[in-house]
């Protein structure tokens, strides 16, 4: 639980997603256009991105996004 509520975890996920994206696109475009690979990378980036948005924008207001989970 503690790992999941950490922004570092989601930053790592986002970085992982971007690294995968760059890595795969350098290797071969065909692999990138593979549905499974594309969905995995997209989901990774999007989920991590929105979690970071939620976390940091709440944090900026001095509030805790993970309130319910840490309660």
């Amino acid at each position: 639980m503690e790992i999941v509520t950490s922004p570092n975890f989601w930053t790592a996920m986002l970085v992982l997603g971007v690294v995968l994206l760059v890595g795969v696109s350098f290797k071969t475009k065909a692999l990138l256009n593979n549905v499974y690979v594309a969905v995995t990378i997209s989901l990774l980036i999007a989920v991590a991105y929105f979690h970071l948005v939620d976390h940091y924008l709440m944090d900026m207001q001095g509030l805790d996004y993970w309130y319910l989970f840490r309660k």
Binding site: S25, K29, L32, N33, V35, A38, V39, I41, S42, L43, I45, A46, V47, Y49, F50, V53, D54, L57, M58, M60, Q61, L63, D64, Y65, Y67, L68
Partner: protein
């Protein structure tokens, strides 16, 4: 390019004249501001005010505390007059003075907003024309900008006339109040008048110089003129806003309303900046709506395909500009409300949960209508593109999402009720529906609507194009995932709000908004990149749009006008029985707040009056076009209005 041609000389002179006009008010007001601080107000205030100012005691230096800034200042003005219900303070016809003033104000505001917004469009479109590489397109844009300014020129003189009528209405029906207001804003009012002169001068140079300055460097000079024009126009609006800001949240005066010598405090009140931003965006969206309605009218009235194509395109551009400014409007409104709550909580409660709450429910409905009609227009607009059929089948799902978002958005949380209703419902909140009215759910609703509008727009952009970039498939999947998760995130945050305490919940709207804006910025950008070098499955056939779409534009324009009237009424009536909030009481027989129905009827009247007059203006413009060579001379320069006397 080449040497210094007479044309170039002339243009540089014209630009110089414009900058001169821009600086004129500042230069003229310098000595006035420096010396004008201490002298008692001349002319303006009615007898009772003047009397108080003349008593010898008032001449002695006296200090008092600013009601808002809490600073000490030397008392230089007379206290706000205490009025009574008699013809001396409130001269009247056999009619409600407030209604007359309401009409005069609203009409002036409609025209004013229009003529301030259109030059901003002109600036944008003219610039687009210059940077456009496609020669034919550039010419089209340029012609469009010229058409825009032509429309606004006719409306401009009407604005000035209406401004004059407004001032006379104020002077004759509310002399005590207007005297007080002008005693405080005396220098600002003069600068305002001078700026109006500058605006008129600038707009005429800009308009009549169009043909002479269409090439090379001259064109750039011409564009910079439009910048000067807009700087003047925007300043004008900010100054006018300072008066209403002062009426809502006074500053720079003490508790009795005596001016403390710092005009900047009176201008820069608690609500000034939020009002400025909100109004600027609102004007732009409104202006877009009016121009779109003009285009729709010309489209419906046109006889040839070329005409139809041109006005279809014009309507599309105007609508796009209008919607572009409509999207940030709710956020600016949110800021304004937050500042209202920060200034006086009571005022915020009157607005959102008290006397005026029903008007906000109407407003929520209207926001929904605006977004629904712009979506409808975009879907209809796909009809003019070959290859857009593939998206048509998704539209029904989008309608479903939009309607769900809309219904949640308009559900009120707490409302004003009669005791009987209260009893029947078992409390201020409906046992089931009340839950949807919580702010985080409402925010969820509106964010879903806006995100869907973004999606509609992206589909529209792709309508006739097939992305050819090598990673197109990945791009599509990524875009799909991003949108899907954006919806999930918005809805998740909306639901999450029910499980956490209110003080944490209030913060949820920020990530919700950020999610929507992420979609707006990232996805439209990604879409543009993907569409680079895209294969066209068919050309855009301008003019092939359905007639219904044009009614959507008219609907958009009317709804926008109505909403503007509504919001203006809300903003003005939140002061309740104060002319100047907590400083000067309204003791006229019309100090009460009207019913929702009466307000709605008044707003309808104002909206229809505005549209009838402006349709007439449009109609006159079509008459002019028939005598094509003479069209530029429709508005004769000799008929320059003299707004300075009116303002």
């Amino acid at each position: 390019m080449g040497g210094l041609t007479p044309n170039k000389m002339l243009s540089i002179l014209a630009l110089g004249a414009m900058v001169g006009l821009l600086l004129l008010p500042i230069v003229v007001s310098m000595p006035a501001l420096a010396g004008g601080g201490g002298t008692p107000a001349a002319g303006g205030p009615p007898p009772d005010v003047a009397k108080k100012a003349d008593t010898p005691e008032a001449a002695k230096v006296e200090k008092a505390r600013d009601v808002y800034y809490k600073t000490e200042g030397i008392v230089t003005g007379a206290p706000a007059p205490k009025t009574a219900d008699n013809p001396q303070f409130y001269p009247r016809y056999n009619f409600e003075s407030r209604v007359l003033l309401w009409i005069a104000n609203q009409q002036h505001l409609y025209y004013g907003s229009f003529v301030l917004a259109v030059p901003i469009f002109c600036m944008i479109i003219e610039f687009m024309g210059i940077v456009s590489k496609d020669k034919a397109m550039a010419k089209k844009y340029d012609q469009l900008a010229y058409d825009f300014i032509k429309i606004s020129l006719t409306a401009y003189s009407l604005t000035a006339i209406l401004g004059g009528i407004l001032i006379f209405t104020f002077l004759t029906l509310y002399p005590a109040f207007f005297g007080y207001l002008s005693s405080i804003f005396r220098p600002v009012m003069h600068i305002y008048a001078l700026l109006f002169v500058a605006e008129s001068g600038t707009i005429y140079i800009y308009y009549y110089g169009w043909d002479r300055m269409k090439e090379g460097l001259l064109k750039w000079i011409h564009v910079s003129m439009s910048v000067v024009l807009n700087v003047i126009g925007t300043t004008l609006m900010f100054l006018a806003n300072s008066w209403i800001g002062f009426m809502m949240s006074p500053a720079g005066v003490d508790e009795q309303g005596r001016f403390l010598g710092n005009i900047w405090h009176s201008i820069h009140t608690a609500l000034w900046n939020p009002l400025n931003v909100h109004r600027l965006l609102g004007n732009m969206a409104f202006g877009g709506g009016v121009v779109a309605a003009y285009a729709a009218y010309r489209f419906l009235a046109s006889k040839t395909d070329e005409e139809r194509a041109h006005y279809d395109w014009m309507g599309y551009i105007a609508m796009a500009i209008g919607v572009a400014f409509l999207i940030p409007l709710p956020f600016a409104g949110y800021w304004l409300m937050r500042e209202v709550y920060a200034y006086r909580q009571q005022m915020g409660i009157t607005l959102m949960g008290g006397l005026l709450a029903w008007l906000f429910i109407i407003q929520a409905t209207m926001i929904g209508i605006l977004f629904l009609s712009s979506n409808y227009y975009l879907w209809q607009a796909m009809g003019r593109m070959r290859g857009a059929e593939k998206y048509q089948r998704y539209i029904k799902y989008m309608v479903f999402v939009l309607v769900c978002g809309f219904l949640i958005f308009i559900t009120p949380h707490t409302i004003v009720m009669t005791p009987a209703e209260l009893k029947a419902m078992g409390g201020q909140q409906h046992p089931v529906l009340g839950n949807y009215g919580v702010m985080s759910a409402k925010n969820g609703g509106i964010n879903v609507i806006i995100t869907t509008t973004v999606l509609s727009f992206i589909w529209y952009q792709r309508g006739n194009k097939v992305p050819m970039v090598s990673w197109a498939k990945f791009g599509n999947i990524f875009m799909g995932c991003f949108f899907a998760l954006a919806y999930v995130n918005i809805i998740w945050l909306a639901i999450y709000g029910y499980y956490i305490p209110a003080n944490v919940r209030v913060g949820l709207s920020v990530p919700q908004v950020a999610t929507t804006l992420s979609c707006l910025f990232f996805m439209t950008a990604l879409n543009l990149v993907m569409l680079k070098g895209a294969k066209q499955s068919g050309a855009i056939e301008w003019g092939k749009i359905s007639v219904r779409s044009q009614y959507a534009l008219i609907m958009l324009a009317t709804a926008f006008t109505w909403m503007m009237g509504l919001m203006g009424y809300i903003r003005s009536s939140v002061r309740l029985f104060w002319h100047v909030n907590e400083i000067m009481r309204d003791n006229s027989p019309w100090a009460y707040t009207h019913t929702t129905g009466f307000a709605a009827n008044m707003i309808s009247f104002n909206v229809l009056f505005f549209w009838l007059t402006i349709l007439f203006v449009f109609f006159l413009a079509t008459l002019g076009v028939k005598k094509a060579p003479a069209e530029a001379k429709v508005s004769v320069p000799g008929r320059v209005p003299e707004p300075a006397t009116g303002h």
